[in-house]
Homo-oligomer: 321 residues x 2
């Protein structure tokens, strides 16, 4: 069972703060005017690897024992987590292996190897790559760095909330794009410890929303459609431990429309000239969709990352919404 | 004659620092690998109005006498400076008038009025709008806030260098996109005061390069082609006082290719997922064009702004370079 407390997140922040970017917290007059909320963005797309995932990876790598440091780390992911682990390991001079499924496109493979990680391409889908990573964990004595189902990872991601609330403490609500739930749990635990009145909402798109039933039924339920989505970082089935932890600290899960999410990408480009990935744009989608819980409130949106393919970005921005 | 010293820039920084964003200073492994320089970006596109111009405007508004505060400010510009003055005036509760020529598109007009400035549309080109602004200065007793030919403006823009060098002091060179020359002079004066070994280079595109002859011949020379350019913020004829001041503190002016500049916009979108305006991309162009002065050096690029039209941005990004 996962167990993360505020003291773990505080400790993580002390550990990683000199290794991660203190990202800007920016007010959006345009989004505030449109939505009737007071909207702020925490720009985690400005981390060196273009996503908040660096925080959790860095906390894992910096918390390694001498034994772990010698053997190195191993991770599985086709997305930002791979890059994060590779980057963090390089910074600390530790060896890293990253396992990806065969379906992973070349540019995402490059994201890991450019930081010096050993790339292992294995099996048709994510589960195969994760299984291979666990074999490597056993064979080589490497520390497995989980993308979300890990106390160290959750504590690292939670530092986003500490950093934001130390700059501006009076938010009413925080919107957290949610895939596996590492960021969601970390942010909720830190935010509630700093100010119990803050509401924390997890966001998924209607094209991949296993958190919706799982959270509301209080049991794991991956029985939902998984359709193509611009929010690739949030896509896929989930596991019970993060849901179980979220049930102790998260206020609600909102499911947003795929189309509103695409509109969110275009809105940020048009109004603020920021390129953000689909996952981040679920925050805009939630605001556009007029949730009563957000009306008139001071809302912090975690802009989780900016790693979007340029062609896809332009295709989305050329459409009308 | 313009006269700005380090103490003016230090004073400006003390005055404006709580009103402007401390923007991130970010290392670019990709650009470093491609160019053989160690490349860093100062992300002034993350200022609230999307450009460094806020610094100079803020310094003017915050430095106003009681008399000035009562009468308010007036500025002329079709670009970022208008927005900057309007935003700064609103923050301080001062009234502002912004004069633009009739050719100014609606979205740029909106940029000023959304911050509550009074908009005056006057005459076919910039000079007409500036003349009208001077009339308003006389008629209404308002303080004229010049976009570049002003000690207060230059001192404000120079704070970019103080902020960057306090974070990382050992740059060999700074690349400064140059229009009127306010930023160029401010950065050069501050940088040389903090570290006389730093080289400061001004950048223009070959589609509008009056600084080239003017600087090298040491006299004003606006006799050069003015062609359509993606770097609209740098476009246009210049005046003598900023050249005269630059001759005392700037090392050289580089003229970069229009096409390399467009490639710079695409490169930043592709590799870093940042939307930057053409002016900022001249830094990338200079690095791509292999200036010997930059080879192997630690180079700071001032990313001056991100205010680029989304259609134009996608058009540039869809081309091959």
């Amino acid at each position: 069972m996962l167990k993360v407390e505020m003291k773990d997140i505080v400790e993580a922040y002390g550990r990683i703060r000199n290794y991660v970017q203190k990202t800007p917290l920016i007010y959006s007059p345009e989004t505030s005017e449109r939505t009737g909320s007071e909207v702020w963005f925490k720009m985690e797309n400005l981390q060196p690897i273009g996503a908040y995932k660096l925080r959790g990876a860095m906390n894992n790598i910096l918390g390694m024992s001498d034994e772990d440091l010698k053997c190195g780390g191993v991770a599985a992911s086709a997305g930002n987590h791979s890059q994060a682990v590779a980057y963090a390991a390089k910074l600390k001079g530790v060896s890293a292996v990253v396992c990806v499924p065969e379906s992973t496109p070349m540019n995402k493979r490059y994201g890991a190897i450019k930081h010096g990680a050993r790339l292992v391409v294995y099996g048709p889908n994510y589960e195969d790559a994760e299984n291979r990573a666990h074999e490597i964990e056993a064979e080589e004595g490497r520390k497995f760095v989980h993308a979300y189902e890990s106390n160290e990872t959750i504590a690292g991601q939670g530092t986003v909330a500490i950093e934001s609330l130390l700059e501006k403490g009076d938010f009413d609500a925080i919107l957290v794009p949610t895939g596996g739930g590492g960021l969601l749990c970390g942010v909720a635990i830190a935010a509630k410890a700093m100010n119990p009145d803050i509401k924390v909402y997890g966001l998924q798109t209607n094209t991949s929303a296993p958190w919706d039933k799982s959270f509301h039924e209080r049991k794991l339920n991956n029985d939902c459609p998984f359709l193509p989505t611009c929010a690739d970082g949030l896509e896929g089935a989930i596991t019970w431990p993060n849901v179980e932890l979220a049930l102790t600290c998260v206020d609600d899960i909102f499911v947003v429309d795929e189309e509103s999410t695409r509109e969110g990408i275009k809105w940020m480009a048009q109004k603020h000239h920021y390129m953000i990935e689909g996952a981040s744009a679920t925050c805009l989608a939630a605001l556009f969709e007029d949730h009563q819980e957000l009306k008139g409130k001071k809302v912090l949106c975690i802009i989780t990352g900016g790693n979007i393919d340029l062609d896809k970005f332009c295709e989305i921005c050329e459409k009308d919404y």
